[in-house]
Amino acid sequence: MRLPGHILLRSLCRSFLLQASWNFERMQNLGVLYAMGPALRFLYSGAQLKAAYQRHLSYFNTHPFMSAPVLGATLAQEERKAGGQEVSFSVEEFKGMIMAPYAAIGDALFWGGVRPLAACTALFFAVKGSLLAPLVFLALFNLPHMMMRLWGFFRGYARGVSVVEVIQRRRLPDVAIRFKEGTIVLLGGLSAYLTFSICGRQGVEPGWGLLALPATYSLIWLSRKGLSTLFLVIAGLGLVVTFFQVVS
């Protein structure tokens, strides 16, 4: 018994609410149940339906975007199970095995790679005073985001548990490293441009802007000592104000 297209589409749309009831005890479990609900109601009834709902109430936590291939593959598993076909792993085993590695891949790729790269690119527009900056950020971030959601979900459904190999072939951790390297280069350029423009506004020779580098190293050192961002900003502002009070 194949799941009809409109049920798959409903599950995909519902997966955007995966974290609506995120909780400390079982994290995304209710979100998974909410996304799978229409498919489970189509596949099962009575006691079997209750058992299927109970199956998906267990602990679940992964990266929200990487949940798409997991949900797609889980739907395929449920479909086979409901049709009486043999499955290599139980639904619970599959979800349990895959959630942690996918969480790590998603965190590194989307939070550690795509988001900083999109933000640094958009900030160039922002510092030039262009209101396109938010749109640039949203476009750059959401292109890979939506690709993973859509491609991952349907690929997961089509390939079942072997979606793991498909994802593995994409070498996403390597892609994340390239994005991070790009971010660092853009961040350096952005910081230099900001320093240059402030030097210009304050009538200071831009060469003095190189002093921003040792200032940044000091901030890195202090943050490694455990000082928070909030403390560093307040202390930094205090130092700048004190310096100019003394000078003037």
């Binding site: 609410l17 149940l33 900030l123 910081s191 901030l219």
Partner: protein
């Protein structure tokens, strides 16, 4: 700030607050989007854009992994924009001073966001137990609706954070700004360099790649020198 302006900014705060975790995560919650959006509804999009650019880098390197609750930079951006508009309207302060003071007030107050977020997640724990009762009773539709109640918890948490940052922040700014603004004026735009440099330092600390500081330094120095030469 009028009631209409507060309500409009509150709406942006809730919408962006939901995007942080509970709803879609299209990243309208990032400061570079949320602050100009708040500025737009309050008639000052450029001020919002500047606030967004200053706040964006600060916690960009913090990953929302597992049960950790990162600082609420969304409400710093939205609340900071409201405060910057309020401060700029309340006296003849220069732009960098208004921006720096708004963020100096908004950043500590937004720590309350982590507390409210924690409370929302705790409330969702109870939701999980309620859903199990529905399931035992065979009420499948109620099980699914129970999940959506979590959105209400996160929305309330976002609104409370916004109310603390903007409400309490406005009161603090009325008392504090006339006293301290004069001390900040001589520093001018140098005040603003603190934000991107701290943000860059925090990203360099948290990003896990080889030679990140060398790469950053080379990029910084070459870009600055090129800009100087051109």
């Amino acid at each position: 700030m009028t009631v209409v302006e507060f309500s409009l900014a509150g709406l942006v705060a809730v919408l962006c607050g939901l995007d942080r975790m509970a709803l879609c995560q299209f990243m309208i919650s990032r400061p570079v989007v949320a602050a100009p959006l708040a500025g737009l509804v309050l008639g000052e999009p450029m001020l919002g854009l500047t606030i967004g650019a200053l706040v964006e880098l600060l916690w960009l390197g913090r990953l929302p992994v597992g049960a950790t609750i990162p600082p609420d930079d969304t409400q710093i951006a939205v609340g900071g924009t409201c405060l910057a508009i309020h401060i700029a309207a309340s006296g003849s302060y220069s732009e960098p001073v208004s921006l720096a003071l708004a963020l100096m007030i908004a950043m500590p107050l937004a720590k309350s966001g982590q507390l409210f977020d924690h409370m929302a997640r705790r409330a969702n724990d109870n939701l999980g137990r309620r859903v199990e009762r529905f399931l035992h009773a065979g009420e499948f539709v109620a099980v699914e609706r129970g999940h959506l109640l979590g959105l209400v918890h996160f929305a309330v948490a976002a609104f409370f954070t916004f109310a603390v940052v903007t409400g309490l922040g406005s009161l603090i700014s009325m008392a504090m700004v006339p006293l301290v603004a004069a001390y900040l004026e001589p520093a001018g735009y140098w005040l603003l360099i603190v934000f991107p440099l701290t943000g860059a330092a925090m990203i360099l600390r948290s990003i896990r790649i080889n030679h990140s500081i060398t790469l950053f330094s080379a990029s910084f120095a070459s870009a600055l020198l090129m800009l100087w030469l051109l």
